[in-house]
């Protein structure tokens, strides 16, 4: 069985020199996996700290925009003495093609991981062509 020690995690900050960041707090690019099965595409996005209510998914033309806001209230009456990671909101967008059936995109959130299921459009699904006997 393949076992890898110590997964790694890098939080990439969305810097304000590339785009204008408004509002309070920092924004980060969450890590994501994209994979394909015969029926759909799935996008998995790690958004630890974001609860279901604070996740917004918008589809604008070809762009699927995912925003997740993270509440930072827990730290108000605590003093941070040691810090190894940043807390911030998440933003990521994906460009999707016509191969996706846009009306049937589904999203699920569990344990800080957002899964987006994008079913394939009928014209790209594998189709079996039957041979008729004459």
């Amino acid at each position: 069985m393949e076992k890898k020690e110590l997964p790694t995690v890098v939080k990439k900050k969305i810097s304000s020199d590339r785009c204008v960041v408004t509002g309070k707090g920092n924004w980060y690019f969450p890590l994501s996996d994209i994979y394909e099965t015969p029926d759909n595409f799935t996008i998995l996005i790690d958004m630890p700290g974001a609860s279901i209510e604070n996740i917004n998914i918008d589809l604008q033309d070809n762009e699927l925009v995912v925003n997740g806001e993270v509440s930072q209230e827990a730290y108000t009456d605590e003093k941070v003495i040691y810090n190894e990671y940043n807390i911030g909101h998440y933003h990521r967008h994906f460009v999707i093609s016509d191969a996706v059936n846009r009306d049937k995109i589904e999203a699920k959130m569990s344990d800080g991981v957002l899964s987006l299921i994008l079913p394939k459009a009928a014209h790209v699904k594998p189709r079996k062509i039957e041979v008729k006997a004459e």
């Binding site: 997964p7 960041v21 309070k24 730290y75 605590e78 941070v80 040691y82 800080g112």
Partner: protein, 149 residues
């Protein structure tokens, strides 16, 4: 001598600059933990905070089942062990992009205070693990009364 067109600076440019500065200032003043630049940290990265009653250790561990986490406290050493499992068979799907990592991890830290090991609690919500460790009564500040002689 060539003529160079004088570009009139857009007054709005300055405004966005001010806006950015203000936003940075707010971030600086807020109590939210922020750290810039990464050193190699062990997995999972943690934030240790405390108040008068307890020490809190938080770690971002998205996509892990609570049953796959093992948390132990021995004296003043906290150990977080676990495994992030792949929920699907990688042979059945074709990956188009892969950034998230999987595997086993273990990490031990020395706590800043003596804690009451019997009262340690842990919760896992939205992919964030929070371990609350109430400080032991002997390490809480105690007022010493000076007796009159």
């Amino acid at each position: 001598m060539g003529l160079i067109k004088w570009e009139k600076p857009d007054p709005l440019d300055n405004l966005t600059h001010i806006q950015r500065e203000m936003s940075d200032l707010f971030d600086f003043l807020s109590s939210t933990p922020q750290m810039e630049g990464y050193v190699d940290v062990e997995y999972p990265p943690i934030i240790v905070s405390m108040n008068e009653e307890s020490v809190f250790v938080r770690a971002e561990l998205p996509g892990i089942k609570a049953s796959d986490l093992d948390i132990q406290v021995v004296d003043d050493i906290l150990t977080i062990k676990g495994e992030r499992k792949l929920t699907l068979d990688p042979a059945k799907v074709s990956y188009l992009r892969r950034e998230r990592d999987y595997g086993t991890f273990a990490r031990s830290i020395v706590l800043p205070e003596k804690v009451d090991t019997e009262k340690v609690t842990a919760s896992y919500k939205n992919g964030v693990l929070t371990v609350s460790l109430p400080t032991a009564p002997e390490s809480k500040p105690r007022q010493v009364v000076i007796k009159k002689s």
